[in-house]
Symmetry: C2
Subunit: 354 residues, 2 copies
């Protein structure tokens, strides 16, 4: 499968499978974004979902060139339990999207629906790459006036072993090369203090495995989130998800403070000058629609997960990321990172067994 | 000890022991804050630290009424390893501060130095209250235009059992009654999703123990941080510390975005109108100097931990919180919360053994 995708990527437009039913604004925003992606990027798209619902949101009811519909009969909702839903709803849009990649009918998939179900579909239909113990989500964390850094894992694997975190670091580096275009990405371990002795039992054991790697900067703290340093922040999926959503909660509170203050009638004139600039800065550097989707690391295929409230622009960026991943031989790079690089001291082949 | 403090609290000015050498701006800001506290609040203060250094920052070189110096010969620095430092530096300002409370010479302590050392001093000198397995830090999380909510544990106990998290919930409620003045505080468990089945192994087992408590709202997410709901967010000290510092990092990034945007020369006029309002809102609702210190829950005495960069105002607020805790019978309330309230199903007396 990997070889096919690689071959195809150089000679022709790529085909991206998209879950048209996933996301708060589906299928409208998804279909709109997919059409824009075909217009702006060198790709074709296949939309999986309810045929009538998709056609109803097509501009002028026409299916543009390069856009195909694959009708499916089921939808996994945002609050469905992911594992059970993927097993039961075999004709759901997201499961069929993943199958298109598995079967070589598409080079990559994009989904903005139930994150757990998107991840589970990719994991179950693609399978894991050789040696990868568990999958991880590589999520871009925005940095004002700079490019994002990457949090790995954003929530795929909640209970982790130290060896799995070492793999997250290795895959995170490979992904950072592709995503951030840096040659030698640095990696930090998210902990409760910078000193070497800090951390809970999992962190202390992981630190011992990573110590000595030239790219390992040691422990980093929550206050390093959004600083851009290091390139990759490694965490178990539980801690990573808490940190990721704490960024969201804090940003929401900050926005509330700023825009409520700007909303006072007596400062309307000044606010009219500054509000558009602030909104533009937010759009440029903080908006998930701009900074793009997350990628699932450790699976045998390219799956880009866009957030639930994805706009058409978010979908274009997610498709662009998917194309970048395919052209950058994402799966091969992940594979090399795990089995081709020397692992931290004490990490044995057995540790990588699933 | 508890009885003495209670008796004293109604009939006379309280005495607060303060580590004068702890904090980035020590001893200047600490001494200034201590003097203001004596002027503004019904209390006396005892400053522990280097006699000459403290006297050098006294206004006009005079020791005001109600302020006493207890000379000490050692200081625990911000980056000293807390446990070792507290054991070795027996005449350090923070250890002597804690001893004053232990020996009944002060009703409560305030420290703005090395958080781990302040905590370790209180824990080792006060001891734990009966039944408390481990200490936890109750940290106020700011909420714009509202009062803070409380995160328990902010970093005292990094490796936790489910039973300890139940105690953190119980102590957190008792502390919220005192700190937030709410009769029936609600508690949520910080997790990677709201649904009951979400969480790592620790969260799932803790959820099972808390389920059925009328005040338990279930799992909450990082995005609930700074929302004000629920009153108390419970986490192990590792996760809590990551979340707390992620709030800091995110706030710093947001401030950078806003104030860099306001700093553009072409919007100077509008920025001159709005910047002071924004800074005032930040000071009123987000500034740790305003929202006050953290309290150490589970120890047999009152210890208020102020942040490292504490200003004089932060110290006044920390002393005010310490007084509130003493007058509110903090230690008795924590004790009752643990042994007097019915614990979650399955929590036995043995589970509370240290």
């Amino acid at each position: 499968m990997t070889a096919d995708r690689t071959a195809a990527s150089d000679s022709e437009h790529l085909t991206i499978a998209i879950d048209a039913m996933g996301g708060d604004h589906a299928p409208g925003a998804i279909v709109e974004g997919a059409i824009q992606a075909v217009q702006q990027l060198e790709c074709r798209v296949v939309l999986f979902g309810d045929d009538a619902a998709i056609r109803a949101v097509l501009p002028a009811g026409e299916l543009p060139d390069g856009v195909e519909i694959q009708p499916t009969s089921e939808v996994i909702a945002m609050h469905d339990e992911p594992g059970a839903a993927v097993r039961k709803k075999k004709d759901s849009s997201v499961v069929r999207t993943a199958e298109a990649v598995r079967d070589g009918r598409a080079h990559a998939m994009v989904g903005a629906g139930n994150t757990g179900a998107t991840m589970a579909s990719a994991l179950l239909r693609f399978g894991r790459i050789r040696g990868a113990a568990r999958p991880a989500i590589g999520v871009p964390i925005p940095v004002p006036f700079a490019q994002p850094h990457l949090l790995v894992d954003g929530g795929a694997t909640v209970d982790c072993s130290p060896e799995w975190l070492v793999q997250f670091a290795q895959m995170g580096r490979a992904y950072a090369r592709l995503r951030l275009k840096v040659d030698e990405p640095t990696v930090g371990l998210l902990s409760n203090g910078e000193e070497a002795g800090k951390g809970d039992d999992l962190r202390k054991r992981t630190y011992a495995l990573l110590e000595g790697e030239p790219w390992f900067v040691g422990n980093v703290e929550g206050r390093d989130m959004m600083s851009g340093h290091p390139h990759v922040i490694v965490a178990d999926g539980f801690t990573g998800n808490v940190a990721l959503k704490t960024v969201e909660g804090t940003m929401k509170a900050a926005a509330n403070l700023v825009f409520t203050t700007l909303g006072a009638p007596e400062v309307k004139e000044a606010a009219d000058v500054l509000a558009p600039l602030l909104l533009q800065a937010v759009t440029d550097y903080l908006d998930p629609d701009t900074i793009g989707g997350a990628a699932l690391l450790g699976v045998d295929g390219v799956c880009v997960i866009s957030h639930g409230s994805s706009s058409a622009r978010a979908i274009v960026n997610a498709v662009a990321l998917a194309i970048d991943c395919v052209r950058g031989n994402f799966v091969d790079r992940m594979q090399e990172a795990i089995v081709g690089e020397p692992a931290g001291a004490g990490v044995t082949e057995e540790a990588y067994a699933s």
